[in-house]
Every structure is written in C-alpha cells, then in structure tokens.
Subunit: 196 residues, 2 copies
C-alpha cells in the first residue's frame, strides 16, 4: 500500500496549512505560534521542515506564479488571433485561480516588505505585462473597443478576475469553476447589459 502513513508533515503538507492561516490572518498578522497551533506541532518543529516563515511564503507564491506563467506557454495562448488568445488566457486564469486558490490569494496580497515579496511583485508585473501585450494586439486587430485604452482595460479585466480570491470558495454547493469561468468570459467580452 502506497497511500498509507499520513500523520507526519512534509514541507508540502505543512505549506498547505501555513497558506491557509496566512490567508485567514494575513502574512504579517500570522505568527509562528499561530502556525504551530494550526499544524498541531510545536513552533520549533516547524523549523525541522522549512527554513522559516519567509520560505513558506516563497514556496507559496512560487506555486501560484508557476501556474499563471504556465498558461502563457499553452498552445492556445501562443497561436491564433489575439482576441481569441486573450479570451483563452482569461478563461485559463479563472481556472488556475480556482485550482490554486489559496496560493494565488497569498500572491495577490503581498505588499513588498521583504525581498521575497518584492520578487513576487516583480514577477506579477511581468505576467501582467505579457497579458497587456495581448490586449494591445487585439486592439490593433480592431477586435476590442477602441474607446477604452488597452492598459486601462487590462487592469480592469485583471481586477475582475483576481477578485475571485476574495469570494470564491470551491467547497460544497456554491458556484462551480466552469460556471465562474463562463460568467467572467461573458462579462468581460459581452458586458452586463442584455443583448437585444
């Protein structure tokens, strides 16, 4: 049996606990004492698995960033008409956000107080820039409205997608991931007003 033994921590399982607490209390609002209570082991035992608090943060935001950048490597994000690639990236972003929700949540809340946080912010800006390029291309193709500047439109669309981390909860019988992705794509591209 390969699935047995599951009572001891690994860096990964400890990370999942830590990320949950980070999101509940905020990274700065979480002490190692909080983490030790949530994990059920002593504070010093945490250091047997990870180097410290900041490494937990680095592991978490790395996982989120890998998921996001992975989207840009997919075929549908690289080939085809820009507006179609933009729509694909939009949908995939929703999927990655919901799949890696706690990690992306943490990523979107870093403020830049430490070196790790500043690195995360820089990578985020890089991702945003890549998507903004896509929006720019779609605008050049004449496929998106010209009366909203592409940089502004990009930020607003990012805002809508990223807001998922503030309210989406995957458990139980809420809205499903597919339903959210459909709603976001519809609202972003077609708008709220009923089509006549």
């Amino acid at each position: 049996m390969t699935t047995a033994k599951r009572d001891t921590y690994t860096p990964e399982t400890l990370l999942s606990v830590a990320v949950r607490v980070f999101n509940e209390r905020g990274y700065d609002g979480t002490s190692m004492e909080h983490l030790s209570k949530a994990a059920g082991i002593s504070k010093s035992s945490i250091y047997h698995h990870v180097a410290g608090k900041e490494e937990l943060l680095r592991r978490a935001v790395s996982r989120a960033l890998d998921g996001l950048f992975g989207i840009l490597d997919e075929e549908h994000a690289r080939v085809g008409r820009a507006v179609r690639r933009l729509e694909y990236v939009t949908r995939r972003m929703v999927e990655v956000l919901t799949a890696e929700l706690p990690y992306v949540t943490l990523l979107l809340r870093v403020r830049g107080n430490t070196g790790t946080e500043r690195w995360a912010l820089e990578r985020r800006r890089e991702f945003d820039h890549r998507v903004a390029e896509l929006m720019k291309e779609a605008a050049a193709d004449g496929d998106v409205r010209a009366d909203v500047e592409f940089g502004l439109a990009t930020r607003l669309v990012f805002g809508m997608i990223n807001s998922l981390v503030e309210w989406y909860r995957p458990d139980g019988r809420g809205v499903g991931e597919r339903e959210v992705a459909d709603a976001v794509v519809r609202l972003v591209f077609e708008g709220l007003r009923k089509e006549e």
Copy 2:
C-alpha cells in the same frame, strides 16, 4: 490670517500620514515606530493625538464606509429604473474610490483579526448586499443578461471596481478620474468586444 500655522498635528492630519504608511506596508506590517518616522514625531507623541494604532484604523475605514454608504442615499441611487440606478452607483463608486483612495484601500484590505476589522467587514458586506439587491431588481426587469446569476455578476463587478485601489494613482498625468469612470461603466455594461 486663518490659514497660517500648519506645523502641528491634528488627529486628521496624523491620520492621513498613518493611512499612507498602512497602505505601503500593510496594517499589520506597520509598527508605531514606522508611523513615528513617517510623521516626524516620536512614537509616544502619537498617543497625544490618538488613542492608539487601532483607532487610526477605525477612523480610516469609517471615512471610507461613510463615502460608500453616502452613494446609496443620493437621489439617482434611489429613484428610477433599477438598471439606471445600478449604472449610477457603479459610476459613483469609482468616483468615491478615487476621491478617498487611501481610506478605501485600507478598508478593502482588512482581514478581521481585531474587533474593529470585523466591524469593517460587516459593514462592507452590508453595502455589497445593498448593491446586490439593485442587481437583482435590474435582472427582474429583464435589463441585464440572464445567463449570469445576479450574485455572481455583483461580485465580479465589485471586483473590477474595487481593483482600482491596486493601481489607480491620482497624481500627475495618468488616467483621469472621469476617464476611469467612463471605462468602468462601458466595460461593465457593454463589454470588451467591439460593437458591430
């Protein structure tokens, strides 16, 4: 001369400094030492003007909440067809967010660790609920698309508007408040895709 003397702090002027630092470092990531450096007075002097760190937070989020709830009392938000009221509230939210940017920014980032923060979260939920009711009415009128559930649509629209605090900076020659409000209303109601 009534405009002279402006070198001593009042609770209000101290608040504006504190809110700026809170937004730069996060509330939990800001120490009273940070505040004293930013204000140019000693740590203990801060307590001459305000009761403590949490009172600064309470004053700040109160100001933001007053601005937001004030919208709902305005005439255009109370009378008329629901979809028109919704459009009005959307535009006014952008205006309040930009006008009270640092205060609303702080409000949107509270996590609920203290009593003050939990109170702020509760009032925010109340505001969100009021706007969701508006969306529900517009849907009942048949004025907004029926293929996106109204609660989901409300959250996504809130997400787009609230994302302003992550990037909008009023200084210098960036995008103006009016331009942002126009862009948000257009994207929310008409969508990104070019109209044929």
